[in-house]
């Protein structure tokens, strides 16, 4: 495999990525490219080589990207092809944009039986913005339902891409792979020859290795980098020595030097991925580039939630686990939070819903933690009476009504692609979620694109699930945050026996407050066991009660006989009863079972 390390002239380098919707066959195609170029021997082939997290494999999506350098001979000429994988979810659109910036071309893979989906569209637009050469590929032509001609036409209509030479392939059957490799060589432009310039390398990914520290993946844009070089990260302003550099093929192979146009990795005793942020520019300490590469931005969490361990003694474990995940996930933010209902936990910020779900799942699966998760919340901007603007992602920290003039909430532009049969149900959904209808275009005879402006808060619940269920799984969506708008929002508090339960507070649109309040109080009444006194359960906006339930007092709980033989048995029963009380959390004088909180939090996700 050492031949893959051999340098080729820069004119023979091709850097490309694959843009595809989930399940349209990106990973299978990538596997086939590796196999066909001999980068990975058939016997070493694990299915879907590029996706190496369990979770990714299960969900069939890529979360962390990877890269692979391939050697391909065409017309007796050796070429170096670098495949840079991209994450396929909108939560990671920044990461996508950075890996696109490391390429000169992209394969647009579309399932020949399914057609273009919203997510694909968004990424194609990103690629076009970065001036990438796009090669359309119609995959799965072996399937009985494949209609490559129709789909080719669809791509032309929607994206405006010439599809007369679209490659028809079946990654699974190995059909059309050579054609793809040839097209990459002939169509994707080589990198610019800027070897003489000062070093600028674009970080497009990094991960934490317990033994070596952070491993940084980069594309050399200008100049060259040698093993042992003293380097500097321009945005982060940190200096390191590149202890090891090499290429990914797809396993790491050490190299001495990488030139402009090449893709590789380095390790430099970096302690956390936050220090090697995607999009940052690597340059030489001694011979600094004048300016950094464009496009860098900090990670801004869009969605927040509280994570609390189910068992209080798991707090430290949770802290450690979050810390470890953060080593590998610069976008994950967390800070300690405590609540009377949930005890000690963390308020965590995520790029989006999928990111949140991934982190939660990893905590539960890889770190064996049992978590209570509060309803996700977005970042509100509160315009205060004193003319300050504060950001607030935790409903319980919202400034009091008297101290605020207005609340702004983030809005997203959401594009929904759907077969025309589901336009009705999807418009209903948009309506229910306070969506502002923008436009509808028929992209083909049978498929439409609907555009809405929608509060992000309406999307963080079960919007996607609803979309899928109301379209029988056929609709797809894509969104981007477009800014903030003033909304008529209120903080809805829940009081149990007059005690506010902060963990259950939510920020809702005024028109929805009543319905939400009713649902929450009813659920709580169902789930809180009756106690020795009457318990009012109320939903309030400020001091005003908008929904109220009352849990009646227990009138009788007595075991009448207690003689010699009954003592042990009775004691056992009472001990069990006492154990039951211990599992509850005290809200004032009221014992509330953990399950009640969890059920209400779940409900909040559904009704908000």
């Amino acid at each position: 495999g050492q031949d893959r390390l051999q340098k080729v002239p820069i004119t023979n380098i091709r850097n490309f990525c694959i843009i595809a919707h989930i399940d349209h066959g990106k990973s299978t195609l990538a596997d086939k490219l590796l196999e066909m170029t001999g980068t990975v021997q058939k016997r070493d082939m694990k299915q879907q080589f590029l996706d190496n997290m369990d979770l990714e494999r299960e969900r069939g999506i890529t979360i962390k990207l990877q890269a692979a350098r391939m050697r391909y001979i065409m017309n007796n000429e050796p070429y170096c092809l670098n495949l840079i994988d991209t994450p396929g979810h909108v939560d990671f659109s920044y990461e996508v944009s950075r890996s696109l910036a490391a390429c000169e071309g992209a394969l647009l893979v579309v399932d020949a039986s399914q057609g273009v989906e919203a997510q694909t569209l968004a990424n194609v637009y990103l690629a076009l913005e970065s001036n990438l050469e796009i090669i359309p590929v119609l995959n799965k032509i072996d399937l009985p339902g494949a209609e490559p001609d129709r789909i080719a036409q669809e791509i032309e209509e929607i994206i405006g891409l010439d599809c007369s030479n679209a490659i028809r392939c079946s990654a699974k059957e190995g059909i059309g792979i050579i054609e793809i490799l040839d097209a990459i060589v002939t169509k994707v432009p080589p990198p610019k020859d800027t070897l003489k310039n000062p070093l600028r390398a674009l970080i497009f990914d990094s991960y934490y290795d317990a033994y070596r520290g952070v491993i940084v993946y980069f594309r050399v844009i200008d100049g060259s980098i040698r093993k042992g070089d003293k380097i500097c990260f321009m945005a982060n302003k940190k200096e390191y020595v590149a202890d090891e550099i090499g290429v990914l093929s797809p396993n790491q192979m050490e190299a001495d030097e990488l030139h402009a146009g090449e893709v590789g990795y380095l390790s430099a005793s970096i302690r956390s991925v936050a220090d090697a942020r995607v999009g940052d520019t690597i340059t030489h300490f001694a011979k600094r580039a004048e300016s950094a590469l464009p496009g860098y931005s900090e990670a801004t969490p869009m969605v927040f939630c509280g994570l609390f361990p189910l068992e209080a003694d798991q707090f430290e474990e949770l802290r450690e686990a979050l810390g470890r995940l953060q080593l590998n996930d610069a976008a994950l933010k967390f800070e300690p939070e405590s609540s009377s209902a949930m005890g000690f936990g963390f308020r965590c910020g995520f790029l989006g819903l999928l990111h949140m779900e991934i982190v939660q799942e990893r905590l539960e699966r890889e770190y064996n933690l049992n978590l209570i998760i509060t309803a996700p919340s977005v970042v509100y901007r509160v315009n205060c009476s004193n003319n300050e603007t504060v950001e607030c992602s935790n409903p319980s920290l919202l400034p009091e009504p008297g101290k605020r003039r207005s609340i702004e909430e983030p809005y997203v532009k959401i594009e929904l692609l759907t077969p025309k049969d589901y336009i009705g149900p999807i418009m209903e959904l948009g309506q229910e979620r306070r969506g502002e209808f923008k436009e509808m275009n028929y992209i083909t005879e049978n498929r439409a694109k609907l555009t809405y402006m929608l509060p992000l808060a309406e999307m963080v619940g079960d919007f996607f699930d609803q979309l899928k269920s109301r379209s029988k799984g056929y609709a797809s969506m894509e969104y981007s945050v477009v800014g903030y708008r003033v909304s008529d929002l209120v903080k809805l508090d829940i009081q149990i026996n007059g005690e506010p339960v902060e963990a259950l507070s939510t920020i809702v649109h005024k028109e929805k407050a009543y319905t939400v309040g009713r649902a929450l109080t009813q659920k709580l009444k169902e789930l809180i066991p009756r106690q020795m006194f009457k318990i009012p359960i109320q939903a309030c906006i400020g001091a005003k009660v908008i929904a109220s339930e009352a849990l009646s007092a227990i009138r009788k709980d007595v075991l009448s006989k207690c003689y010699g033989g009954d003592i042990s048995r009775k004691k056992k029963l009472l001990k069990k009863q006492a154990e039951g009380k211990k599992r509850m959390k005290a809200i004032g004088r009221v014992e509330v079972p953990q399950e009640a909180f969890m059920a209400v939090l779940k409900l909040e996700k559904e009704v908000l």
Binding site: R555, D557, L559, G565, I567, L574, K581, R589
Partner: protein, 419 residues
């Protein structure tokens, strides 16, 4: 002393009993139709008594004996006498012991009762349960209303027997408030010295357990059932009975001394099938099956059975003390509790009960058993001084509301004792 024989099993009963069938000894004719299983069992009992070592050699005699069942009145008086003799011989009897026996209507006549009194029985607990024919039938009782009235007549007419108790059950299926009021009226009219009022417990494995769900028709709902309890407390108090324990009422001075022993957490022996003893700090329940019990007696005689000396933990002792004392009107003696289990625990218990002292479910009392005002209770609780210096001396559950919620309140206390 458990005498497990019954004619048939009542529909609510989950005790270890032996059902003899309806042919079992009729009220009259001693010895006639006597079931050999009774004599066999009593022989076993006598063997157990003989094989049981008295706790101390200094001969503190027995103060109370309770023949419970089953239906002990089905056992021929000479066999009861045999057991009494054996107990007297083995452990000694105090000068005027309380000797109780449970009797069911329809299982005895005046002669049989006289005979029992003759051999030393001086207290009768009459299992009436209800004064309505349809309720007796619904419970699967082996007697009707006529037998109830006859039995009350026999007991009240019996010379040499002043002390007797009546058992009633509330919250029976289809029981109405009128029926319950009527039963209480009849009870008061019969003028027993003691009344036990049991709230029906639906036990798994009983006929009731199979067909009924607590709180669901035809059983009364929780509110009605609580109401029955309150009515009993009211009517019996009005008639001069003291509500001295959750389900026990008595005319002044007629507490069941035997049961008081349980609630004061004092030691007791036990003999017979399924019975439970509390000796040397260890609670032990005998096998509930006749064969297992017989095998156990054999081992006891052979000396091959040895008590697992599981010494109770302090926590458990504190729980026993709280659980048992809070069942009684006397309540928890804070000074002696503090002496045994410490000042800190006593204080946290009071703290746990604070909201309930405020709401009236729990009553704090001084040495003279005067109830303290809530603010007095609070200032006692907050004072720095020793518990023994404070006015507060007892905590009890209020009658009827606190008693009605005793499980809740006691389990709260358990949570404080064992956090």
């Amino acid at each position: 002393v458990h005498l497990p024989f019954c004619r048939k099993r009542c529909h609510y009963c989950d005790f270890p009993i032996v059902a003899l069938g309806s042919s079992a000894s009729s009220p009259g004719g001693p010895g006639e139709g006597e079931d050999p299983r009774i004599a066999d069992y009593v022989r076993l009992l006598l063997r157990e008594v003989a094989a049981t070592r008295p706790v101390s050699d200094d001969g503190v005699p027995l103060e109370t004996i309770f023949f419970g069942g089953g239906t002990p009145s089905l056992v021929p008086p000479r066999l009861v006498a045999a057991v009494l003799d054996a107990l007297r011989g083995r452990f000694g009897l105090s000068a005027c012991p309380e000797v109780s026996i449970e009797m069911d209507p329809g299982t005895f006549d005046a002669a049989k009762l006289r005979e029992l009194v003759g051999v030393g029985v001086n207290r009768v607990s009459l299992g009436v349960q209800a004064f309505q024919e349809e309720l007796l039938r619904a419970c699967g009782r082996a007697h009707g209303l006529r037998e109830v009235h006859e039995a009350v007549g026999i007991v009240t007419a019996c010379e040499g027997l002043q002390n007797w108790s009546m058992d009633l059950i509330s919250s029976l299926p289809n029981q109405t408030q009128q029926m319950w009021e009527e039963s209480l009226r009849c009870t008061v009219d019969a003028r027993p010295t003691h009344v036990s009022v049991y709230d029906l417990q639906i036990e798994q494995g009983t006929k009731f357990g199979q067909i009924y769900t607590p709180g669901v028709f035809p059983l009364p709902n929780e509110t009605d059932s609580a109401n029955f309890y309150k009515i009993a407390s009211k009517r019996l108090s009005e008639a001069g009975y003291q509500h001295y324990e959750i389900s026990s009422y008595c005319k002044p001075g007629y507490e069941c001394k035997h049961n008081v022993t349980y609630w004061q957490n004092r030691p007791f022996y036990a003999f017979g099938l399924g019975s439970a003893s509390y000796i040397n700090g260890v609670r032990f329940s005998r096998p509930r099956g006749m064969r297992n019990y017989a095998d156990w007696v054999q081992k006891l005689e052979d000396g091959t059975w040895c008590h697992e000396s599981s010494i109770s933990e302090t926590k458990d002792m504190a729980m026993d003390s709280v659980m048992l004392s809070l069942r009684t009107a006397r309540g928890l003696d804070l000074h002696s509790f503090s002496k045994s289990f410490g000042e800190a625990l006593t204080r946290s218990l009071c703290e746990t009960f604070r909201p309930f002292v405020e709401s009236g479910l729990v009553i704090a009392m001084d040495k003279e058993r005067e109830a303290l005002q809530f603010n007095e209770f609070e200032s006692d609780l907050e004072s720095e001084g020793e518990m023994s210096g404070s006015r507060m001396a007892f905590l009890r559950l209020s009658d009827p509301d606190g008693f009605l919620l005793s499980n809740e309140l006691i389990s709260l206390a358990f949570g404080t004792i064992s956090p």
